[in-house]
């Protein structure tokens, strides 16, 4: 993918890391019709998002097409250190995937 599909930020406050991520994805439910042709637009959405840091899986998100276009995700976790890397990756229903890393700061 030429353009980066994930923006991710991880900030530490005390011992709590707050992660905010934005992904670029059409998130088609498969129920929407093309306005011009009247045909159904095939489903195309992110199914699974995984966040890892320090070799541990912090969050697995299972999604349907009910999550908004260009999804936003935020969560918090403990047990990481400043400067650790956080990796976020997604896989969609067509098998495409992408990942990004950010330093916890």
């Amino acid at each position: 993918m030429a353009k980066k599909s994930i923006k991710i930020r991880a900030k530490m406050k005390g011992d709590l890391v707050t992660v905010k991520a934005l992904m670029t994805h059409p998130m088609e439910t498969g129920a929407r019709k093309d306005k011009k042709s009247g045909e159904l637009i095939p489903a195309h959405f992110i199914q699974e998002v995984t966040c890892e840091s320090g070799g541990k899986v912090r969050l697995t998100a299972l999604w349907s097409g009910g999550v908004s276009k260009n999804p936003y995700l935020s969560f918090k976790f403990k047990g990481a250190n400043k400067g650790d890397m956080l990796k976020l990756s997604w896989v969609d229903n067509t098998g495409k995937s992408d990942s990004a890393e950010a330093k916890i700061g």
Binding site: L59, V67, S68
Partner: protein
């Protein structure tokens, strides 16, 4: 005779190539995503979705779960929802929009060190309750909040 054999070969080659394309397109994600519960996300009713996802539809209301969502959402395509829970030992948080064609929107499995906090944006077809289901210690807890939707966001 020979000609026909060529055509036959071509045809079967084409078909098998197509098979490979379909195979990689449809089967590989399912292998990778063994955990993605198709039954739960495809369910049209809330109890069915919960049963498929967690194995139970028995949940108790909890005041320890807070849902932050707008009272009125002007655009149903983007409804910000934040769920936070102070229940100990949260394993997963699921977000359900009761009146959506497929009510189960997302399920978040919390890993090591993760807090009972999730924020995301969802689509809502029409006005209805947003239910947050928290699984902790094998039990289900829930809370709900009504969101009025002015313009639906599920299309069609």
């Amino acid at each position: 005779m020979n000609n026909k054999r060529r055509i036959f070969l071509k045809g079967s080659l084409g078909a098998s190539a197509l098979g490979v394309v379909i195979g990689t397109g449809l089967l590989s994600p399912r292998v990778v995503l063994a955990a993605w519960p198709e039954d739960a996300f495809g369910a049209k009713a809330v109890p069915d979705a919960l049963k498929a996802l967690t194995g139970s539809d028995q949940m108790s209301d909890s005041s320890d779960i807070k849902i932050k969502a707008p009272d009125i959402a002007e655009n149903g395509a983007v409804v910000p929802v934040t769920v936070s829970s102070s229940i100990e030992g949260v394993e997963s948080i699921s977000i359900i929009a009761v009146n959506n064609p497929s009510p189960l929107i997302a399920s978040f499995n919390l890993g090591e060190g993760a807090e009972g906090f999730i924020s995301t944006r969802i689509k809502m077809g029409k006005t209805g309750d947003v239910i947050a289901v928290v699984k902790a210690d094998g039990k289900l807890y829930s809370a709900k909040k009504e969101v009025k939707v002015t313009i639906g966001g599920c299309g069609g």
